[in-house]
């Protein structure tokens, strides 16, 4: 295969970046879900808040 370095760099950054973004997104989503659950619990425990 010719230009192997460019092919690895092209596919590596794009597919690797896609995978990294997906993992980071899932982490952000998990953190937001746990924060939202904490809020729901707090509001449920004390309706006056």
């Amino acid at each position: 295969m010719t230009d192997l370095g460019f092919i690895i760099a092209g596919y590596g950054v794009i597919l690797g970046g896609l995978a990294l973004y997906a993992m980071a997104l899932m982490r952000r989503l998990r953190a937001a879900r746990s924060e939202a659950d904490r809020i729901r619990r707090a509001v449920g425990a004390d309706p006056l808040e």
């Binding site: 295969m1 010719t2 230009d3 192997l4 460019f6 092919i7 760099a9 092209g10 596919y11 950054v13 794009i14 597919l15 970046g17 896609l18 973004y21 997906a22 997104l25 899932m26 952000r28 989503l29 937001a32 879900r33 924060e35 939202a36 809020i39 509001v43 808040e49």
Partner: protein
């Protein structure tokens, strides 16, 4: 469950399409193996268009309906748009060096207008961070999203309107869809990767939308609790110092 299934399907499709483009399809006679980069480069560019198009349409819908769910769709599209535009530029550079002899040329209209699209997308996301009030933020972001979308047809038709390094469309124009100027296997590999990336885009959009809605809920709770997210951030900064 449906979203998870879509994610698994997207992952399998990307692995399959990449393997097909890298190991099954023959190398191009003139461009050699570097041509294989085109499959991920074009797929990224298509999704960049789609993402910023969705941002503009959702922004327009927000301006008409004043429903913050449209704003959540808009910000999801913009974030993905920035990522896919960066991928398209990177893929183009990795293809351009072995085929054109240069990574980049400011004299090429498509490269320059694509760089502008990336800058507009980043600007959109930065603008959102400057405004604390959700309704004002959504309104201004919607206008910014509509301005950014003006660049999409300019990027697409730049290869027909102006002379540059880029070749004309292979399958991008209506008269070439049924008679593409590339071998069938190349077109099949491109279509396979387009489908795979589109599935991944759909999954990412759904997840990013869910995140945007949760972020709004958390932000709203901070506001209703008598203290804004910005104040909380400032206070946490004071505590840290």
């Amino acid at each position: 469950m449906g979203t998870r299934l879509l994610g698994i399907l997207a992952l399998v499709a990307i692995v399959g399409a990449s393997a097909f483009g890298l190991f099954v399809v023959k190398a191009d006679l003139n461009q050699g193996d570097a041509q294989r980069i085109m499959y991920v480069h074009v797929a990224s560019a298509w999704l960049a268009y789609l993402s910023f198009g969705v941002t503009a349409l959702a922004g327009l819908a927000y301006l008409v309906r004043r429903d913050l769910r449209f704003d959540a769709v808009a910000v999801s599209g913009a974030e993905l748009g920035v990522m896919f535009t960066a991928f398209a530029i990177w893929g183009g550079m990795m293809w351009g060096r072995p085929v054109w002899g240069v990574f980049w040329s400011w004299g090429d209209p498509r490269l320059t207008t694509t760089a502008l699209l990336l800058a507009l997308g980043i600007g959109y996301l930065l603008l959102r961070r400057l405004i604390d009030d959700p309704a004002r933020r959504a309104t201004r972001a919607a206008v910014a999203g509509l301005i950014a979308a003006v660049d999409i047809p300019i990027v697409h038709f730049s290869v027909e309107w102006w002379r540059g390094l880029h070749q004309g469309p292979t399958i991008g124009s209506p008269d070439k869809i049924l008679n593409p100027s590339a071998p069938g296997m190349f077109v099949a590999a491109l279509m396979f990767q387009l489908l795979a990336f589109s599935l991944a885009w759909g999954w990412l959009m759904l997840r990013r939308y869910q995140l945007a809605r949760l972020e709004w809920l958390i932000e709203e709770e901070g506001r209703l609790g008598g203290i804004s997210a910005a104040q909380r951030a400032a206070r946490s900064g004071e505590v840290a110092t």
